[in-house]
């Protein structure tokens, strides 16, 4: 069978997958009795048409960059981390505790500590699944699913019975001190040329982009990154080359958990200003879609995260103004994961046929 050109494999396969997911979503919207074109226009105007819309799109995108990178790093080591959701919960716990305890300290002390606490807590939550995979051969997919549920139970317990202030009904911590408020994009030079009023997207976006660059540099510019990728491609070959499987599995999963945990700076410290029960709200799972769509490359992850930020914000607008329930975005998320992650062979086969037919007609013409 002929092979696809490299650029088509990198760019066309995700785009065609997205197109197929979009077509199915359009059909579903049609069945629901709405116009797909009008729905798309509403999404676009709601997510990109106003400052507030763009602010929300970028806010969601920030979450998804972190979780997308988390899934991607693990994926390069051949590990499928479904636990980013739980790791983000526990990351939120770490960040939240720092904000509660040290919130009165100067900002330049709190922010680095909050970032560190989120990363360390997220990594800690990935530690046991990673260790069990590396030492005991327990499947990381199952253990991380279990750890998502355990994280949720731990958080509910802490919020209901321990961290909730007296006299408060809803399971959440007290509000963080004023000093922990992160600068939003309208308060940051350059960005304030576009954003003139307060938006939810904040300085964490820059941290997320820095993290994406860091992941790229690590994976493609260091010896460790090379070991991780080699291990993911072929465990046997990596072992033969003297790469320690235990070490690589642990490092990749801890990094993955740390990235997922760092998401907490955006949603817990930045947006909510206190630790809530369902703080990650599915971002950990969207990270799977983002990583697959972005072909596990940091640049792809950033682009896919913005796309999903658009979908998330646009989907909320649909839920508000049309008869299309907000759950539509979960369907699209599922379809994107299905086409990019499980039916990618089908998409590739289709494209290969089309390319072959195209080449065939060219050579036929040349012969005449």
């Amino acid at each position: 069978m002929e092979r696809l050109p490299n650029w088509a494999d990198l760019v066309l396969v995700p785009l065609v997958s997205l197109l197929m997911a979009a077509i199915i979503a359009g059909v579903i919207i049609k069945i629901l009795g709405e116009s797909p074109v009008a729905a798309f226009k509403l999404m676009a105007s709601g997510a990109l048409g106003t400052q507030e819309g763009v602010g929300y799109t970028l806010y969601y995108a920030t979450n998804f960059i972190f979780t997308g990178l988390a899934v991607a790093v693990a994926y390069h080591a051949g590990l499928f981390n479904i636990g980013a959701e739980g790791q983000a919960y526990i990351g939120g716990l770490g960040t939240g505790l720092v904000c509660l305890w040290l919130g009165e300290s100067p900002f330049w002390v709190v922010l680095p500590l909050a970032v560190l606490a989120g990363a360390v807590s997220g990594a800690a939550w990935a530690f046991i699944p990673a260790y069990l995979q590396a030492k005991r051969g327990s499947h990381i997919v199952i253990t991380t699913i279990m750890f998502n549920y355990i994280a949720s139970a731990v958080l509910i317990f802490l919020l209901v019975d321990v961290l909730r202030p007296d006299g408060q009904m809803d399971p959440a911590t007290a509000n963080f001190p004023e000093a922990t408020t992160l600068p939003t994009l309208n308060q940051i030079p350059v960005f304030n040329l576009f954003f003139t009023s307060k938006v939810p997207a904040n300085v964490t976006l820059l941290i997320a982009l820095a993290a994406a660059f860091g992941v790229w540099a690590l994976l493609w510019r260091t010896r460790l990154g090379y070991s991780i990728r080699a291990f993911g491609k072929s465990e046997d070959a990596a072992r033969y080359a003297g790469i320690n499987p235990f070490k690589i599995t642990m490092i990749a999963m801890l990094l993955s958990g740390a990235l997922a945990g760092m998401m907490a700076i955006n949603n817990v410290m930045g947006e909510a200003g206190r630790l809530l029960q369902n703080s990650a709200s599915g971002a950990g799972f969207i990270g799977i879609a983002v990583a697959l769509m972005g072909r596990n490359h940091p640049l792809g992850v950033v682009l896919a995260a913005i796309l999903f930020g658009f979908l998330f914000q646009g989907g909320a607008e649909l839920g508000m103004w049309t008869k299309i329930p907000i759950e539509m975005r979960v369907v699209v998320q599922g379809l994107v994961i299905l086409f990019t992650g499980a039916l990618d062979v089908m998409v590739r086969m289709m494209l290969t046929r089309i390319f072959a037919a195209f080449r065939g007609s060219k050579t036929a013409k040349g012969a005449v």
Partner: protein, 322 residues
């Protein structure tokens, strides 16, 4: 804790263990044939929605069950095409279908009934009625065993008995029929099955279809027997608990029964924190009981409670030699 409370707990245990049991046995067929399925949750949810909707619209619970099985089979079919025909990643396919199911069930229910993604409550023939087993009334006054028979064993809807009957049936199919032997073989060494001239693809699709039917029954039970109607995310992670039970049971049918009863018992306890507190003499947070099945599964996976060895060819697509 008195005897009456214990019986009540056991009764709830059986009610709550049934959907786990159906889903767990569903996963057993698929995984024994070498196809990982973390999409049990999604299939149950689809079946719950379809069965509640159709049962409400037709007024017949049996039509509802058929619709539930049908809806679950559609997802099973997609999973089969993705993981068998196109040799895609089985784990990713399962995750994807769970999300699709989570969203689309609400979309459909909202479109049909406009009640915020729920179906209207089911009544009369649209729901399974409890069955009183023979002599239950007559034997009720026999000390100890009488109330046990009356309260715990008798008085469940049909699907509960079907679920428990599926355990010996599955054992018989797996270990006493030719189909079962081949099914187990295809999960351990598909190349050997292929060499024997038996279709790997056909066997795996058959296993995935059985998984679809059983998940359909699990979902239909949730919506038409355990509860009266569908609500969003009503399966609440039961597909994953079933998966945990399957590992806990080390992929064996009779052990699966005990695992599901155990996890069902935890769920029953979580509904009665007062009883737990009374027995242990100190307060246990409900969330701890909720998390117990997951913690136990991790312990099993870690090898502290015996070693769980999955079917050897699980998760790997079969590529025929050329």
């Amino acid at each position: 804790m008195d005897y009456a409370t214990l019986l009540q707990l056991l009764d709830t245990t059986i009610r709550l263990a049934t959907p786990l049991l159906f889903a767990c046995l569903a996963g057993l067929y698929s995984e024994r044939a070498g196809i990982f399925d973390i999409g049990l949750e999604g299939k149950m949810l689809m079946a719950a929605m379809a069965s509640a909707s159709v049962a409400y619209l037709t007024g017949s619970v049996w039509m509802g069950v058929l619709a539930g099985i049908g809806a679950s089979l559609i997802l099973a079919g997609i999973h089969g095409i993705a993981s068998i025909t196109f040799r895609g990643n089985q784990l990713i396919s399962g995750v994807a279908l769970n999300f699709v199911a989570s969203g689309i069930t609400v979309l459909v229910a909202q479109r049909l009934f406009g009640q915020g993604g729920r179906t209207p409550p089911l009544e009369g023939d649209a729901r399974f009625a409890p069955i009183t087993l023979p002599f239950a009334e007559a034997l009720r006054d026999v000390p100890i065993l009488g109330p046990l028979y009356y309260e715990v064993i008798s008085g469940h809807p049909f699907l509960v008995y079907l679920g428990f009957a599926t355990v010996p049936l599955t054992w018989w199919v797996l270990y006493r029929t030719r189909f079962g032997l081949r099914l187990r073989a295809v999960g351990e060494n598909p190349a050997a099955v292929d060499t024997a001239g038996i279709s790997v693809v056909g066997l795996r699709f058959a296993a995935v279809a059985i998984t679809g039917v059983l998940c359909g029954l699990a979902g239909a039970y949730m919506a038409t027997a355990l509860q009266a109607g569908f609500g969003r995310e009503m399966t609440a992670g039961r597909g994953y608990i079933a998966l945990a039970a399957l590992i806990f049971a080390k992929w064996r049918p009779v052990a699966a029964l005990w695992a599901c009863l155990l996890f069902g018992f935890f769920q029953a306890l979580a509904l009665r924190p007062d009883v737990v507190e009374g027995v242990l003499q100190f307060k246990v947070p409900v969330t701890f009981l909720d998390a117990l099945p997951y913690v136990l599964t991790v312990l099993v996976l870690a090898g502290f409670v015996g070693k769980a060895i999955p079917p050897r060819a699980g998760g790997e697509p079969y590529v025929k030699e050329r």
